[in-house]
């Protein structure tokens, strides 16, 4: 009994890993082969980049605020309140900005993609694309994945600015910091690697979210329930992968 079910789970895991790898290679190979659907790419970029702005802005704003508050209460006992600016700056640009933005986008965009493509799959719209001599990978998947890779870094850059601003607001109006000093501290601590590493992470996360959203939708079967579980899988799997890959990317960038 136990052996049978362990075997089944292992086989299922191996099969979906293989399927996902195949799906990724197919998508990537279609990225470089014409025809290209620029209009769909633009639509997806607006969907991911523009319409995700409010959620990303709100999460990073409040994260910046709470980091300022917490680091102050920790650091003031060592009388090193001056470091608050750099703590906010580092946490937001290196870690929380990319991770939170990606998690929000996974919930918003990844789920949407899985549900949309999943519905198209179960209502045979994907087969219809093929019969109308349009490659579904090129028409549906490639624009979404590229939009994720391009737009998440932009979202994160905006999120970085808003997050640091959140920290600034709390430091000035609640913790009575000197505004000019705080800004100077932030600026002096800021290194370009902080921003670049965060944006690179964002690109990887954008790839993960859109790829898993599309993959789960594309392979969903069995009507409403299938689409439902595809959506759940897309969000859960991409959230976990974001957090895991974030650790390894950090190690790649900053561990010596």
């Amino acid at each position: 009994m136990i052996f049978a079910s362990t075997g089944r789970v292992t086989l299922k895991f191996l099969r979906s890993t293989g399927e996902l790898a195949l799906f990724m290679t197919k998508t990537l190979s279609h990225c470089v082969k014409p025809p290209f659907y620029f209009k769909s790419l633009l639509n997806q970029m607006i969907e991911i980049g523009f319409y995700s702005l409010p959620v990303v802005a709100l999460t990073t704003l409040f994260s910046g605020m709470v980091i300022a508050l917490q680091s102050y209460s920790g650091l003031s006992s060592f009388s090193s309140e001056g470091v608050v600016a750099s703590v906010v700056e580092l946490t937001i640009t290196r870690e929380l900005g990319p991770v939170l933005a990606a998690l929000m986008v996974a919930g918003r965009v990844g789920a949407r993609m899985a549900a949309e493509i999943g519905t198209m799959r179960v209502t045979e719209q994907i087969d219809a694309l093929t019969t109308l001599s349009t490659n579904p990978y090129k028409y549906l998947i490639v624009p979404r994945v590229l939009a994720g890779i391009f737009m998440l870094p932009v979202l994160v850059l905006i999120g970085d600015i808003i997050g640091i601003f959140g920290g600034y607001l709390i430091s000035i109006y609640k913790l009575d910091f000197n505004s000019a000093n705080y800004l100077r501290n932030t600026w002096n601590f800021l290194r370009s690697i902080d921003i670049y590493s965060g944006m690179t992470k964002a690109s990887v996360f954008g790839f993960i979210v859109t790829m898993l959203g599309c993959y789960n939708g594309y392979h969903s079967r069995g009507g409403a329930e299938g689409v439902g579980s595809a959506t759940t899988n897309a969000v859960v799997a991409s959230s976990i992968l974001i957090l895991v890959s974030n650790y390894w990317l950090t190690e790649l960038f900053f561990a010596r």
Partner: protein, 256 residues
């Protein structure tokens, strides 16, 4: 050139342990209307999906216009699919596009036609299936099921295909609308000179559109003949199916 549009020899397809197609031999002449009949789950849909290249058979050969399509690359299949189209059971209209964009899809995306030109053809095709131009700007969720089928038909004939597949074209329609659709399908074959492969279990539809009938049972073609012969044959399977009797050699499998 061969006189056959489609030739299937010894085609086998299994999903796990379940054999869906078990050595299917079937050929369709150019300009002929073939109807495949058979109960639910006998492999009718799988048969036409194999011809379209949406599913790859486990073994056997499928030739379209004398060209072997089993083992063909995706790109070559796209070339073949340029000449074919399909009316799906649930119409499978793209719900993100309005009706004329749906009808014109194969022209705009598949044949790279200009939008204004394609729109004129789309409206002409809509008129051919008995729809007025004022539906052109509606969306698929704003029209009835019968209209969706007609729009699906307009989309299928918009590219002037040489080979058209009809998947249960009359299922779920009222008798009058069924007859309208049947007439339209017959017109496609008679006036456009297309080859048609229809799968259905609606006998009035069979009598109206078929030149030749093939019956699929347990993954095999157990009978084929002209439409006149279905009434005179002494084949017990055909007799049972045509007359819709519960008693006879065909046993409905409750559990598949």
């Amino acid at each position: 050139m061969t006189e056959f549009k489609v030739e299937m020899t010894n085609v086998k397809k299994a999903f796990g342990p379940k054999k869906v197609l078990d050595r299917v031999d079937l050929s369709v002449k150019k300009g002929e209307s073939l109807v495949i009949i058979g109960g639910s789950g006998t492999g009718k849909s799988v048969t036409i999906k194999c011809i379209q290249g949406l599913l790859v058979p486990d073994s056997g050969s499928i030739k379209v216009d004398g060209t072997e399509i089993v083992g063909m690359s995706e790109r070559q299949l796209e070339q073949i699919n340029q000449k074919t189209s399909m009316l799906f059971q649930g119409a499978a209209l793209f719900d993100s596009l309005n009706i004329w964009e749906n009808v014109a899809f194969g022209l705009v995306e598949g044949k790279k036609m200009k939008k204004s030109e394609a729109k004129e053809i789309a409206i002409e095709k809509l008129r051919q299936v008995g729809l007025t131009p004022d539906v052109a700007n509606l969306y698929p969720d704003e029209v009835s099921g019968g209209m969706k089928k007609r729009i699906g038909l307009a989309r299928a004939i918009a590219t002037n295909p040489e080979l058209i597949f009809f998947d249960e074209p009359t299922t779920g329609l009222d008798p009058i609308m069924s007859d309208v659709i049947n007439n339209l399908i017959r017109d496609c074959v008679t006036n456009l000179g297309a080859t048609a492969i229809t799968i259905t279990h609606d006998m009035s539809s069979v009598r109206k559109i078929a030149d030749r009938v093939a019956m699929l049972y347990k993954g095999k073609i157990i009978w084929q003949g002209s439409v006149a012969e279905i009434n005179s044959t002494d084949n017990p399977y055909i007799q049972q199916f045509v007359n819709g009797r519960a008693e006879g050699p065909i046993q409905m499998e409750i559990k598949s």
